[in-house]
Every structure is written in C-alpha cells, then in structure tokens.
C-alpha cells in the first residue's frame, strides 16, 4: 500500500482556484460514502473522481444519479448524459431505485448543492428571483432534487464558483432547498436532521456556527483578502477568533490528476463566469 502519492506531494505552486475548490470538495468525501451528481456539476464530479484516485478509493459514485461506478473518460460537456456513466455496473432507475436509496437515509448521506442564491443560514434558491412566485422577475431552472435533498437528513456541501453579493445573500428570495431555515434550532424543530456543512466558493470556505447556524468564515483562499470576501458577501459572516486561516493549496499530484486524468478538456472552467 504505502503512502498515497498525493500526501507526499508538495503544494502545486501553479494551481488555479477551480483546482483548489475541487480539492476542498474532495476532502469532504471518504471511503464508505456514496456520492451522486446532477446536471452541470463539473466541480463535484471532478472532486468525487479526485477523492477516488487519492484518499478514498472506496468512495462509491453514482454518476448522473444513474450509473453505478462507471469508468469515465475525460469529463464530458454534460454531467447528466450517457458519456459520463459509460461502463457502469448498474443503471439505477430513478423511480424504483435512486429515490428509494436516497429516501432511506442509510445511503447517499452527503450531497453537493449548486444554486443561484444561498443565504446566511444555508437555505438555497434555484426557483425565482424577485416578484411573485407566479410572476417572478427571473425564473430560474427549478429545484429538481434539491428540495428533496435539503429535507432528507443529508449533509449538504455547497459549491459556488461566482461568489458575489447576489449569490450569497442575507435571505433567499425563495426557499427551494431547506438549510437551517431561520437559524438556531428551527430545522431540528421540524424534525429534520443533517443540514448544510460547508460552502466552498472561489474566494473562501465557510461553515456554520453550531448554535446560531449562521454562516461562518472558515478559511480564505491564498491571494484573497478578508476584505475582498466581506465585500463580495451579502451579509456579515461570523468570523473565527484571531487570524483567518488560509485554505490549503492543492498538491502538485492533485493538480496533475485534475489536469491530465480527470478533466483534460477543462470542462470545470465552464462553471466560472467570464470576467
């Protein structure tokens, strides 16, 4: 066995923020977990594969919530279409299999969530922005599986490649995925366990203060200042005592795997808004 190469590997030096975000998400998934992904989920898909190639070879992946343990090639342009789930061991039928596994609670206990808006208590919105639900200013795609995953005792890992005051807000316009609702023990009082664990953005990593359930800054990425994070956030996150830690850089081996093996076509860059 020996030590996995990535543990001995020095920091990459020439990493980019997409690779750092993938490395942080990968660290959330371990042997014995089952992970699944939905549409347009390049960073989670890369993270699951990175975890499997490094510290979590026994992480089970349900690609596109369809294909059990596929042998994927380079990440394709869709994270829902067949090329992602090629050579799968099983096709999991959504009605009969997938939601039975997810609802059961024993399986698929962690879920990565991407959404247009996320608020200080970890509620997410992929439904409507502004106005009335039936005449919104902006109609977003819709909640799909998020409204289930938020209420099913899962641990939620948010990723947001475009951290700004419109995507990280004090209060979402519409709760289409339940986080800690109004904070404190409100989620618990509804009989829901689990909840948001971590928020990984292109600027920083946040978690949730255990009592208030308010979002809390956990680390700021290298070359990003605390002021930049606060300016880009639509509310004041709880700050850790003392100096804010710096997010660890991805290692040279992690960066090599992402660039050469997992995503040589650079699909992950599609998640980042062009500046």
């Amino acid at each position: 066995m020996g030590t996995p190469a990535y543990l001995d590997s020095p920091p990459a030096g020439d990493w980019t923020v997409d690779e750092l975000m993938i490395a942080v998400l990968a660290s959330c998934f371990s042997d014995g977990d089952q992970a699944c992904n939905g549409m347009a989920s390049f960073l989670p898909v890369a993270a699951f594969q990175l975890a499997k190639l490094t510290h979590a070879p026994d992480l089970v992946w349900l690609a596109g919530a369809v294909g059990l343990e596929p042998r994927p090639g380079p990440i394709p342009a869709s994270t829902l279409e067949a090329p992602l789930w090629r050579d799968a061991l099983m096709y999991v039928e959504q009605y009969g299999d997938f939601w039975t596994l997810a609802l059961n609670g024993r399986w698929l206990q962690k879920f990565c969530v991407g959404a247009a808006q996320l608020d200080r208590f970890g509620n997410a919105n992929n439904s409507v922005i502004g106005g009335d639900f039936h005449a919104p200013k902006v109609r977003l795609p819709g909640t799909a599986g998020l409204a289930d995953m938020g209420s099913l005792d899962k641990r939620l890992y948010y990723w947001n490649p475009n951290h700004n005051p419109r995507s990280l807000v004090a209060k979402v316009d519409f709760v289409s995925c339940a986080g800690y609702l109004g904070g404190g023990d409100e989620r618990e009082r509804l009989g829901l366990s689990g909840g948001p664990e971590l928020v990984v953005t292109n600027l920083c990593v946040l978690d949730f203060e255990p009592d208030s359930k308010h979002m809390r800054l956990r680390s700021v990425h290298p070359d990003v200042t605390l002021e930049q994070v606060l300016e880009a956030t639509g509310f004041e996150p709880v700050l850790p005592p003392g100096d804010v830690p710096t997010t660890p850089e991805p290692t040279a081996e992690q960066v090599r795997l992402i660039r050469e093996v997992i995503d040589p076509h650079g699909m992950r860059h599609r998640e980042f808004r062009r500046r």
């Binding site: 279409e81 902006v138 819709g142 409204a147 209420s151």
Partner: protein, 295 residues
C-alpha cells in the same frame, strides 16, 4: 392483439387542446421530439406539460404558443442554458409553473397510476414550495411519526414517450439505458399513451428478450415508427444530442424574426419527418450523432 400502428398526424389527433401532456424528457435527453413537432404543426393550444426536466421541447412549445402551464422539477437545457422562451413566458404570467421536488412529482404520478388520492413524501419540508401549491399539504402521520407532505394524484390526459423498438401492437422495449421515471411511471398514470419508436419490429423480436419490455401493448393507444425520433435530444445508446441545433436555437432566441425563421426551417417547413432529417443535415449528420461526435 389489436394493431396500434399509425402515423404521427393520426397519433397527434389523440391530443386535444387543453390536455395535460406528460412528456418523456430529461434536459437534453430522450424527448419524443417528432411528436412534439407534430403537435406544434397542428397548432395545439393551452396544453399543460408534465416533465421531470423539460428541455428544448418545452422551449419550442412555449415559443409556438402551444402551452399555458407546466408541472415538473425543472426546465433547463443544461450546457445550453435556460430555456429562454419558457422562462420569459413564466415571468410574463403566460405559463403557470407548478414546481415540484423529484419525489413529489413521482408521488403525484405514482398516486395517479395506482388510483390513490395521494402519496406522501418527506421531501420539501421547510421549503416555500408547499404553501404555494394546492396539490401539496402537510399531513400528520396517522401512526405517530413526524408529519409528511401529501402529494395529490396527477392523471395526465396523455403520455408521450419514445422507445428503441416496439411491435405493431404497442408492446414497448428499451435498450439497456437510463430508464428515467417518465418511462417507469408516467405512461402508467396517463389516460392515453402515444409511443414513437426508432423501429417497429415483429413480435418475435420482443419475445427473444421479454425482460426488455417495459410497457404492455394494452396500455398503448398508438405506436409510430420514427427513426431518429428524439433528435435533437440524445437517445442512448443509439445517438447523442445535436449540440449545433441546440446552439442554433439558443442563438435565435434573442430575436422574434430569428425564432420564426428557425421554427419555419425545422418545425413548420418540412413536410414530414424525412424532410426534417434532411433539413438538419441528413444521413451524414445522423451518422456523426450515432458516434456521439457532435455533442
């Protein structure tokens, strides 16, 4: 056994103005697009659509003014972005969207299929989706556990599906592929079922692999042979989605004239399915899609 084999035009006559139409579709995958184009050509109006994740089919139906309501989980063309016509129609109040979580839609359809008044789910609790929807309500567990969300039965007037092969009696087979719930439950909930198929085969071909048969002919009202019938969506394993046609639609979305020209070229203009296939690139283009090269 009854013979259900017919034409696209005849099959479309089973869909009336105002009907609730359950449509097989998962973003860029597996929509019965030939039947969707036929409904647009026949100018059906005030349809209510039901999809898991509606894609370009919904955007065409919205742009052509065929629909006024939608029940489902999401509308998105994934890498090709939001369905802009659908989206703007919802923002303007021309289309009413009933937004459901995945387990809620499956519960509504499952109750419809089994003649139950509702089925419960534990999804959506705590979200804003429940209070705004008269088809959902919180329900005490009669056995003393935590409350659940009751999801009212949904019985679509008609389900439209596309399959790999069927016989002329409407017995339906799929190749090994993702069996999205719109195959497993939608047709069973609907009053009428219209099947388009890549190929109509002799019943003996089905008998060789009865485990591939997912829908019995007695549930099916019409079956139509339409090779490449899901184009421009993908139909695994036979062909991939047509990225170029999706991109052409996205590029046209900004201008009414461009949209009208697009619909004329690919929906209203071609006299039949063969003419449509010629318009989108013919045999050479289809061969590339069959190699999943154009995505």
């Amino acid at each position: 056994m009854q013979v259900k084999k017919t034409t696209l035009a005849e099959a479309a006559s089973l869909v009336s103005d105002g009907d609730v139409v359950a449509l097989q579709n998962m973003a860029t995958q597996a929509a019965p697009m030939a039947m969707v184009r036929e409904l647009i050509r026949q100018q059906r109006r005030e349809l209510g659509l039901v999809c898991l994740v509606g894609g370009i089919a919904l955007d065409w139906l919205a742009a052509a003014g065929c629909m006024n309501r939608f029940t489902g989980n999401a509308v998105s063309m994934e890498q090709f972005g939001l369905a802009q016509h659908y989206r703007h129609a919802v923002e303007d109040g021309r289309i009413c969207m009933e937004e459901l979580s995945e387990t809620a839609l499956l519960a509504r359809l499952g109750a419809g299929a089994r003649n139950l008044p509702f089925l419960p789910t534990r999804g959506m609790i705590g979200t804003d989706l429940i209070d705004i929807n008269e088809n959902l309500t919180m329900l005490e567990d009669p056995f003393g556990g935590p409350p659940v969300v009751a999801c009212r039965a949904l019985v679509p007037d008609v389900a439209l599906i596309h399959c790999h092969r069927a016989d002329r009696h409407g017995n339906v087979q799929y190749e090994p592929t993702a069996l999205w719930p719109d195959v497993g439950i939608m047709p069973k909930a609907a009053r009428r079922v219209i099947v388009t198929t890549e190929q109509i085969v002799d019943s003996d071909v089905l008998r060789a692999n009865p485990d591939r048969t997912v829908l019995p002919g007695f549930m099916v009202d019409a079956v139509v042979e339409v090779p490449w019938g899901a184009h421009p969506t993908s139909f695994n394993p036979l062909y991939g989605y047509d990225a170029a046609l999706h991109l052409a639609w996205v590029a046209a979305a900004g201008s009414d004239n461009d949209v009208a020209a697009f619909l004329e070229s690919y929906v209203y203009g071609p006299d039949d399915h063969e003419a449509y296939l010629a318009a989108v690139g013919g045999a050479e283009r289809m061969a590339a899609l069959a190699r999943w090269e154009a995505g």
